[in-house]
């Protein structure tokens, strides 16, 4: 991974989301007396802009962006995995080839590969597993010719489930890597 580009990508991503308002954590004082007194969050902590992952969506009739065309494999963004697995299945090859082609043609386009896990088991293990799932997609795209500088793999573990139901279908839906473009 290109080490110089990542901060730029992060900055772009953060600024794209900063309009959602700051959501940084509030730190509270716990004095020895056992009373919890709220203190204003430290100035140093208020710099972290944590937007709520707002993703732009195409307006109806926006035919200019092939990524928004439901008929295009580029509109497919999720690679799903088996339980406790980070093997990218063959069925995702057409979709990944389409994204690889798009990224090769548009060298200024960037993607974040967001790995996720279902909610069963350890949160820390799932965080690591989500990273492996993101990395697996990153490597598949790299094999298809995508530049490392255009990609970053991150994990949300089981912290951002798409489907919060407690069913096998929900688990399967949550075991995935999403391909998210930096300009979306």
């Amino acid at each position: 991974m290109n080490k110089i580009f990542w901060p730029v990508l992060l900055a772009l991503t953060v600024s794209a989301c900063s309009t959602t308002g700051s959501k940084e954590a509030t730190v509270e004082d716990r004095t020895g007396s056992g009373t919890a007194a709220t203190t204003p969050s430290a100035g140093a902590e208020s710099t972290g802009v944590s937007g709520a992952g707002v993703a732009g969506s195409a307006l109806p009739g926006d035919a200019s962006d092939p990524r928004k065309d439901p008929a295009s494999p580029l509109s497919k963004r999720s690679v799903h995995f088996d339980f406790d697995s980070y093997v990218v299945k063959d069925e995702y090859r057409p979709m990944l080839e389409a994204h690889a082609g798009y990224l090769a043609a548009k060298r200024d386009a960037r993607v974040i590969l967001q790995g996720n896990a279902d909610e069963r088991g350890s949160r820390e293990y799932n965080l690591a597993l989500g990273q492996k799932r993101a990395e697996a997609v990153r490597k598949a795209l790299a094999v298809l010719g995508v530049s490392d500088a255009q990609m970053e793999a991150i994990s949300f573990g089981e912290e951002k489930p798409r489907n919060e139901a407690d069913t096998e279908e929900a688990y399967a839906e949550n075991r995935r890597t999403d391909v998210v473009y930096g300009d979306e």
Partner: protein, 431 residues
């Protein structure tokens, strides 16, 4: 078992619950968490807990109730019914034959006196009913905010005098509560009461870990849209980012000296274990490879790290020297063993094991290799040992929401610490 206690058991359990809610009301402004003692072993010490005599004009203190709940939750004690018995407040008033007749092995009595300045004096006595002797007698000068702390100290003394092992009732726990899309990192007493929020966030918080001296809490926050390891003072609330490298930063584990942490980073490769000073300096990589290593925990002698790895093809517990070297596999049964916690004596591990689709807390004796399931739930996570090594705190899911529970090491006594209407997860037992 948790869902369906027998009617008799329910009646026995509900009575103390109601008393607790009523008695503790004057002393706590916080919503009470429920305590449910689920089962128990045969050989318990029978203790008669006589309500402490209130100071004139003051409400009856919940001291003996809180201390009795503590003792019962440990699995080592059962409370003896007090029906019809006199209620002595000093040793000279005790008629031992009455308590022997009720099957009590020990008797706890006490009284409260009001002191100038809104303070109170609490006196309590622990008496051996069989030998008819006093085992302990203490006096406390407390403020009105110290009822619960005093009750936990009394329970600690009773536990130590009657079992030979110190109690862990004055210790604290940390956990994360989720309500809607809001996350709160909380620190509470070991019985789940008296919770105080130390971090609020709109993004997830996981993996809180107390420093060995209990003064700081390391945790992982997603507030920067990715996992970052923080260390926060529990005294003044100040905090710093200890690991905020490129990629993911997670799974903090304190070294026993409190000066270093093991953390898991993805800055160089897949999740790998690193050592870092508590001020964020001195990063050193410990594990290497393309596999996944996470959830490190130091042995009490600081020499060994236990951790979870998929290097053998499935999630298993490994150990390696903190000084480096080849990891050695520790867990062998099953295809998913994660989240190791080491007992304070270093002799056993508690971890989560998947067996026939159930995720349960198991206890692994390192010398014999013997493994026992401690729970009968199906979605257990995040085990950690009590500071005295006598119980394990864990999270599980019941009725669709996350709850916290403790289980004695024999698996026979399970208690539930939970607040209604919220999701509690990621517990850690601290000093």
């Amino acid at each position: 078992m948790i869902e369906n206690p027998t009617p008799m058991l329910r009646a026995v359990l509900l009575f103390p619950l109601l008393c607790l809610a009523w008695l503790s009301a004057p002393f706590s402004a916080h919503a009470a968490m429920e305590i449910q003692v689920i089962g128990g072993a045969a050989n318990k010490i029978a203790v008669a807990m006589v309500p402490f005599q209130a100071a004139p004009g003051q409400p009856v203190p919940a001291l003996s109730q809180i201390a009795g709940d503590d003792l019962e939750r440990s699995g080592r004690f059962r409370r003896v019914g007090l029906e019809g018995a006199p209620q002595p407040v000093a040793p000279a008033q005790v008629d031992y034959s009455v308590w022997r007749g009720k099957g009590a092995d020990a008797l706890v009595i006490g009284r409260v006196a009001a002191l100038p300045g809104g303070r109170f004096e609490v006196r309590f006595y622990l008496l051996d009913v069989i030998k008819r002797t006093q085992l302990a007698g203490y006096s406390y000068n407390i403020s009105a905010g110290q009822w619960r702390a005093t009750a936990h100290q009394i329970a600690d003394i009773i536990h130590e005098r009657l079992t030979g092992t110190p109690g862990a009732f004055s210790s604290r726990i940390a956990y994360v509560q989720k309500q809607g899309k809001r996350y709160e990192l909380k620190v509470a007493d070991a019985d789940g009461q008296n919770p105080r929020t130390i971090v609020r966030s709109g993004e997830s918080v996981i993996s809180p870990r107390f420093s060995p001296d209990g003064k700081r809490l390391a945790y992982v926050s997603f507030e920067d849209r990715k996992p970052v390891v923080y260390v926060q003072s529990l005294q003044d609330g100040s905090r710093r980012k200890v690991a905020a490298f490129k990629g993911s930063n997670s799974a903090p584990a304190w070294a026993p000296d409190g000066r270093r942490l093991a953390v898991v980073l993805t800055r160089d490769a897949a999740s790998q274990i690193y050592l870092i000073n508590a001020d964020g300096s001195g990063l050193a990589r410990l594990t290497r490879g393309g596999h996944l290593d996470t959830e490190p925990v130091f042995s009490p002698d600081s020499k060994t790290l236990y951790f979870t790895s998929d290097r053998g093809g499935s999630a298993q517990i490994y150990q390696m020297a903190v000084s480096g070297g080849e990891p050695r596999r520790v867990s062998y049964s099953g295809s998913y063993n994660v989240s190791p916690a080491i007992s304070p004596d270093g002799k056993s591990l508690a971890y989560i094991s998947r067996d026939e689709g159930r995720f349960r807390v198991v206890l692994h004796d390192l010398a014999s290799g013997q493994i026992r399931a401690l729970t009968d739930t199906t979605r257990d996570e995040s085990p950690s040992f009590a500071p005295n090594g006598q119980a394990v705190l864990y999270a599980t899911v019941l009725g669709g929401r996350g709850i916290l529970g403790t289980v004695s090491l024999d698996g026979q006594t399970r208690a539930r610490l939970s607040e209604s209407g919220v999701d509690a997860r990621e517990p850690a037992w601290g000093p």
